[in-house]
Symmetry: D3
Subunit: 246 residues, 6 copies
């Protein structure tokens, strides 16, 4: 298959409402990576938040055993999520909370489940971009029955990976590129262009400040495109965010 | 939604090859129940079979947390599969092994993963019917590179549930019917019309011999229809089973 | 040892009250299979039943490590009950609940522990037949201190295995027969002759409808004999069930 | 029930060979305490002993859930043996190894399972006394097929508890006495009168050197009686230990 | 390094308050063995003590992975504390409770954490001797804010190991001596000279009554020296125990 | 206590060789944070590296239960390391591997254990800075017995945290500052000034590109000071790295 240019995003697609039970759900595809994201609203909060009038957003992430080229053992059989899984779901949860006013949400929890049906690089960033859509759908649905003083969703949010591959800064790597890249960086930004997470790792080969600057710039470009696409997608679904919505 | 007649199957659909990595894969839908079945071939056998020249077929079953009306906790967080999950995956494995010649397969293991994306009754029977298709695709693919003395797949296999609901024997119950039915019975049969598993439970209300006979007859009818549909589906995909295939 | 005829039960024996602490207890022997069944009454119910005025019956099943020809590892060391154990104890619990009015029992739980001291086939069916006796003794004892509006035990209950061995339908198989049988079927029935569970498995060799009918008939005969023997056993112990008891 | 005198042992009884599969087995009763002890011979040793020409003796201990006045949760459900269980089975294993020549035994493992059917104090000491008998039966059986250069069992071994109860030193306490005793001490000795284990605990009330001396003396008396009884029991079963046996 | 005489203690040292957060803490050294002991006060009691007006003392023990010559796997990775760890921490807890009036303490829990930084024999006895000091510091600190009717600490407490090494009774063994000793005995005593725990094991070689008497005598001598040293240490820190303190 | 200026490091100290068994060990202090780092050399590699002629560096991280203001439950009792622990130890391992030539190391594993005795912010960055020292000591020791073709340690490595606190970019935050900072960023760099890891999180308040640039610059300054100090420390211990060493 012909590859995209280094500064381009992979082709994106989304199916809204693939799950008939969830309060919000999307099936998001980035290249050959496919993630099913569902949002579940629970009218309770975890013990550490009880009685504070605040809500909570949490995420869980998992890969189906054959989402990858080689089958992986299920985490239920290992007896616990792996370190990688925990790291990723903590990241998704933190990222999504950065664009939610927990006070405005009130004492309820929204759980975003990101289940990777097929993995071809960028599963954590795609989970954030898709998880945001599921969250937005769920809060929109909730706004039909609950009157918020302030709309709980405060901004858009998207994420993309970026790396240095064959001495070139490359956006949105697939699995093959990612496994050969010198640096692997994941960036999460809001729709207003501020950073929520910057995670860059150069285990096999440390990177210079100018490479870092190049990656940050390219990630910013890519994320702003994703946010535009999110706005269109949600707009067509009748969901607007922020100021004038309610 | 208007319900089907008591003696009818729910509407069935299948997507072949939804996963680009697995040796065989189908997305099967029975009414609103959706199960992703993948088959993985591993050129090894479990320790208890080593050196016997025989292969193995095993199955794993899981529901995504929001496959159901209420979200369920992930089994990786509980630390182990539940009793229900283990019971179901043992059933799927036994059922599939009944139509495979393990000697003909040779020293390799095929793992059938059945991941329920959406559950609306009959997830274990749908997993068997769909798992058979994924298995058939994988063995067909394998037959392109391996020469078998005898084709390892010896028959078709399908499964359906049947119950007594409002004093009527009903085929292929959805979740709502199942939760109100007096008896819950799952039947697995081969394409030649012999029984592989019969599991009937009347916890809330024991059932008579004549009710049992009625359920067995209706299940047989339904399974033979499913097998016809499997034959068409695989035939269109260029897969034939048994005698003349190779 | 000379084997019984194909249509006969193995020799049965029971020791009442082998345990001085339990509210009800029996040591049941079926051929060389020996199971210690104890019933424990707890004046609480599981969380999902709280405040509904209903009781609960649950069962646990375990084999001592050397109950079998080869020693098995303890499940406490494996870290969890096996799939087989969970499947069996779920079966025993469901079966016993089918002859108890949970409303009549009131908000209390009876736990039936079935510990296999020696296993020679039919441990799950023997656990049900013996577990019923322990349960009946416990409810009888309870009726000495609690006044029930309605007697909680509504019927007798017994279970037996049946299979096809050397092309003959055989009742109550021992381990050696069971491991060579073409079909393995467990049947649970009430004293009034209705079915509570029917579980037949033909992993190695599927079975025909006429074989199934033959097995069901023979199981019915065997279970009715077991129920007669239960009636005598409990009658001698001064325990009567149902209508006139209280 | 009339209690024994302070310096007496409780009534003892043993049933030889209660289990038809185990290489050695006894059901031992000390007062109302009943322990089923089985010995399993395995022709392998644990990894840390491989290739050293030495054998291994290990023990496992467990209580049935209703062995006690209040039902205890199964350790398989807790997910692991409790600290108490591990402490006891380590003690039993150490004690039994002290009278076995592991070199003489050769590269095989004997596992002693001590399953408490009913507990009324002294379950660990009774497990040692009974476990020794099961071990002796198993080694005797093994000596029928294996020629030992030296008989692996080098001495008799028994154990008893002793305590200070109402300011009196008391031998072989039952549960009620034990729970009220000021000191709880378990002593293990060989048939030649040497100490293998001395474990005394005065959590609620420390004890003086003269109380300690009194307890040690009484334990010694009790254990020597138990050893006499073991000699008779094994002698009647045709088992002799040590020098002249082979 | 020149070894101490058989009847001597190894050199002892203590650093008070090595941890700035704990209510009491010491770093104790016995020879090359180093244990960090911290005491944490929690104004709650375990469920089994709720509402009884009594407090609780509990202990946890752990070795850093490289506290020993060979690195040990962390217990968090094994998934549970080992049997040895549980045995030791139960011992430490029991020992410390023997010199605390739980009624006087009131409804609060003190947890003593004993983390072995370097192990060279005697880690459990050193943990008791050091744990006592951390406990005394914590109760002293607590007495600054809480008025006790009776001072909760009722006596001093120390512990030492003793063994038979080269046919000589030896006090306070290091790792090398311990691993070659014929008997391994741990003794815990109060400042008033009564025994709290006596645990002697002669797995490889049973011991005689006179050896036992020799060990008990030597342990008593050693412990009384340790108690003297504890009195000085606490006295210099301004902590007095018992009668006149408050 | 008077706080350092925003652009300063906290006071640093190190004790070399605090552990007599480990191949390399340091006790590192950064402000009030104290971490014991030990390096263990094992002449084996994990299964995935067998036979490739390459070595491995891995890290484990843990906090003593009372390293923090509130006592934390031990991970051995929780049954597994927390997500935070796994995230941190994966980071430490990746960081250290970036300055080691695994080919030059040969088929052996070095495990760096970082045990936090007292935590006051920056435990993960301090573990990397101290872990590097323990690793350097271990490789230096190894170079006394093994002849390397190329010295396995290829560069220095240190790490520091940086954040935005009261609208000012601040270096090396303690716990109180960290918990109030708007951004929390950890940076790992080599002695040659290239980045190994950049991890910035703005959960509560996203950060701008200019804030990010300010933090990266300050981190770089701090890390280069730490590397100077590492050079002096190792130089005084007779350890030189790279080119001319052997």
């Amino acid at each position: 298959m012909r590859r995209k240019a280094a500064r381009d995003l992979r082709s994106f697609a989304v199916t809204l409402h693939p799950n008939k039970y969830a309060e919000g759900s999307v099936l998001i595809e980035a290249g050959e990576t496919k993630v099913l994201c569902t949002a579940t609203i629970d009218e309770r909060v975890p013990p550490f938040l009880k009685g504070q009038g605040k809500g909570w957003i949490t995420a869980e992430y998992s890969m189906l055993p054959r989402a990858t080229q080689q089958r992986n053992q299920r985490e239920s059989i290992k007896g616990k999520p792996t370190g990688r899984t925990m790291e990723i779901q903590r990241l998704i949860g933190r990222a999504l909370r950065s664009v939610v006013s927990l006070e405005a949400l009130g004492e309820r929890t929204i759980t975003i489940d990101c289940d990777v049906l097929q993995a071809d690089g960028g599963t954590r960033t795609t989970s954030i971009t898709g998880g945001f859509l599921a969250l937005a759908l769920a809060i929109h649905k909730l706004s039909g029955t609950v009157t918020f003083n302030k709309y709980p969703l405060t901004d858009f949010l998207a994420s993309v990976s970026v790396g240095v591959f064959h001495n070139e800064v490359v956006l949105d790597l697939n699995y093959e590129e990612d496994s050969k890249a010198k640096v692997d960086m994941n960036v999460v930004m809001t729709g207003s262009g501020t950073f929520v997470e910057v995670q860059g790792t150069g285990e096999d080969s440390p990177f210079s400040r100018s490479e870092l600057d190049g990656m940050l710039g390219l990630a910013e470009e890519g994320i702003l495109k994703l946010v535009e696409w999110q706005k269109e997608t949600l707009g067509e679904a009748g969901v607007r965010i922020g100021g004038g919505t309610k």
